[in-house]
């Protein structure tokens, strides 16, 4: 088999973990052709962004202390990940060079006092540029041949949308095949920096949402892999948060669509954007645990072979959200009035997570992140609630939680919604808002936050989610 393996930030969080990654890759590369994608060491990307922002404020002292601690962290990781002194030396040399370059870049930002999207992307790319050589060294330390590439060197070419770049998939496939195929055919494991790429002029870009997972699926498609494995620190995608329901079970199989719905499970699942390339080419993705490689994880495919009589597969509790309701008789029958509301929110960088509105058109209910509530209300009022505006009243509830019930076989199955709402009613809990798209993959509703956990537990139990 040809496998693209991605190791996330926690999988390469310490020297010890990186050594373990080297061991895992070596084991699999004996039987399979393996290409590796790595994230930055846990926490490094965020610290790079922070320092970049500080450099913009011309804080030079900060740069020196940051780069020296960054260098130390990577050298420490190298020393504990790699036994061979000569490989250690090689990796440390590369690390020192990269950190010296980073220091120059940060100093430049400091002088100019400006962090453009371009330079920010460049700074961010150093996280992976520093982690990849160590992982490559750790693989070599296990007597497996390996070479490391930046996304740019490997041939990932994107548009110039810095921070949220999209690959030119055909051109990228062409270059990746040309550069990595011969390497893999010789039994060498290529290690590619996740998250980072370059535009056609060679300027560093980052792929944004989806991150290194996205890089892995791009590689999977380009190299015509049989599977893409996302190594992380959990066994797979669960039926719900095990902290809420101890009986929560790992899901052995999911469809791409279901997996995309489960993005709200956070880092444990994959961003829908990352699933885009593999979905088109029908390449299976497996979520696996680096600390429990015996477990085969969650397999994401086009049509999972599983129990089709089970309509509900998972339930999630989404906390830290708030509900905004806007009312206005002027909205009724007026084309474009909803657009105005969402436009105001979009322009203020507020993401709308859930929407519901009745056919009467007199009000819209929305769920947003709780910390955005003040900004949302204020801006809607300023823009649309003045005299002559379309909104006559804005109300909010900030003590709510959203619950999402998911499963591909909910589609066309009668009575799922009634069953869900019956359970909630039996618990004496009031539902504040409901949304179900016509895809029928997901029913979402809002309850008071204090009732959230109880609702999730009840649904998990009612639909027997703890059993296969």
């Amino acid at each position: 088999m040809r496998i693209v393996m991605k190791f996330g930030g926690t999988s390469v969080g310490s020297g010890e973990n990186i050594r373990h990654v080297g061991d895992l890759v070596t084991q699999y590369s004996k039987k399979h052709k393996v290409a590796v994608v790595v994230s930055a060491l846990a926490g490094v990307t965020n610290s790079l962004i922070e320092t970049g922002c500080q450099a913009q404020k011309s804080d030079q002292v900060q740069i020196e202390s940051f780069t020296s601690s960054l260098l130390k962290r990577h050298i420490d990781a190298t020393v504990s990940a790699i036994n061979s002194k000569s490989i250690q030396k090689e990796v440390i040399e590369i690390t020192e060079k990269s950190v010296a370059e980073l220091e120059k870049v940060l100093t430049g930002i400091c002088y100019v006092g400006e962090l453009t999207p371009k330079s920010k992307n460049y700074v961010m790319s150093f996280g992976e540029r520093l982690s990849a050589p160590i992982v490559c060294g750790a693989i070599k330390d296990h007597k497996t041949q390996s070479l490391f590439f930046t996304g740019k060197e490997a041939g990932i070419v994107t548009d110039s949308n810095f921070g949220e770049a999209t690959p030119l998939m055909n051109y990228t496939s062409h270059l990746l095949r040309e550069r990595l195929d011969p390497v893999m055919e010789q039994g060498i494991v290529p290690v590619v920096t996740g998250f980072t790429a370059a535009n056609q002029d060679g300027i560093v870009t980052t792929v944004g949402r989806g991150g290194s997972d996205y890089t892995a699926t791009i590689l999977g498609v380009a190299l015509q892999a049989d599977e893409v494995w996302i190594w992380t620190d959990v066994d797979g995608i669960m039926t719900t948060d095990p902290k809420l329901v101890p009986a929560a079970r790992m899901l052995p199989q999911l469809s791409y669509q279901e997996a995309a719905e489960m993005a709200i499970f956070g880092a444990k699942a994959m961003h829908p954007r990352a699933l885009g390339p593999v979905n088109i080419e029908n390449i299976p993705v497996r979520i696996r645990n680096t600390h429990n490689p015996k477990n085969s994880g969650t397999l994401i495919t086009k049509e999972p072979a599983e129990n089709k009589t089970k309509p509900v597969k998972a339930v999630a509790l989404i906390k830290d959200v708030a509900m905004v309701n806007v009312y206005g008789a002027a909205m009724v029958g007026a084309p474009g009035s909803y657009a105005k509301v969402f436009d105001v929110l979009g322009k203020n960088n507020i993401n709308v997570m859930m929407v519901s509105s009745a056919v009467s058109e007199a009000n819209i209910s929305m769920v947003i992140k709780r910390n955005m509530l003040g900004r949302a209300v204020s801006n809607i009022e300023i823009a649309l609630h003045e005299r002559g505006g379309i909104i006559s009243e804005v109300t909010t509830e900030d003590d709510v939680a959203a619950i999402a019930v998911m499963g591909a076989h909910m589609k066309g199955t009668l009575g799922v919604a009634s069953k869900i709402f019956n359970i909630v009613a039996k618990k004496g809990i009031n539902i504040r808002m409901i949304a179900q798209g016509s895809s029928e993959l997901n029913i979402s509703f809002v309850v008071k936050e204090k009732d959230g956990a109880a609702v999730v537990q009840a649904i998990h139990e009612e639909f027997n989610l703890d059993k296969p």
């Binding site: 548009d159 030119l168 055909n170 051109y171 496939s173 062409h174 056609q200």
Partner: protein, 343 residues
Amino acid sequence: MRIILVGYGVVGKGVTTILSRRYTEKNKNFGFNPKVVAVADVDGAVINPQGLSPDKLEEIKQGGYPISADPEFGCPGIKALNVIKEVEAEVVVEITPVNIKTAEPAMSHIVQAFKTGKHVVTTNKGPLALAMPALTELAQYNNVYFRFSGTVGGGTPVLEFAKRCLAGDQILGIKGILNGTTNYILSEMSQNRISFQDALSTAQKLGYAEREPSMDIDGFDTACKTVILANWILGQKVTLKDVERTGIREVSLQDLDRASKLGNTIKLVGAIDDKNKPVVKPVEISKTNPLCVSGVLNAVTFQCEFAAEQTIVGRGAGGIETAGAVLRDLLDIRHKLAAKLLT
């Protein structure tokens, strides 16, 4: 329209000749005012922003000198890539020799042209055979036109026929005799009852086959053209590697005789449909099939949903014929650009 010619071989000369021939007529009928502002080849380039005279280029080449030897505008040693990057022009015409291993240098030339916002016309099959999905994507991303009608059928408008004349119809499959050399050899073998080797020697003597004939007789050339048809007409994403390919070396006189008794003959056919990978191999076809052309002719049959079978026949190679295809592409680009600039 300002044009950079990259490569100055048989087709290159054909292009300059055609552009200067009946110039007034072109200007009047098509509003087409072509100016070759640079010609680049392996030795260097000749550059004149006012436009170069085809006669003078011809004269230097005739004298056995590289075109960069021009005393007035010659730039010996300058790289084609730099010419593409730095000389101001609307279109790059890429006509360097075909390379189906790496597609270079044409691949880099085309990518460089795209990056600098220049439209590209090429007759070079190499880059298309190896990276067609990548190149069409890159052209689209850079908002430039990419035309290559000379790559299939030489002067015969095979690609336009399918793309334009059959627009709206669904093309279900394509079968083609796409290589004049092999078709000449097979025709000679069956009509004059001579062996493959003898037919090949005759073809080489007449200049139809190269001294190193593998590109033709092992089916690589047909495979390249099949890839182009598969991508451009059927929207598949395939490259040369995906083609199942058999050449004509193993075709014997006995095979041809046996076919002849059944009213058939053997032709090297490139075939594509929407289910299978492209296939290039010698196949038996009926002598009454419109696809069954002899000599150096090419023929392509499109199997359509509504129009049923449509076959186009014509000469598949030749410097001036292929240069004619370049002119068509240039006019098409001019037309599209005008529409764009006026909206």
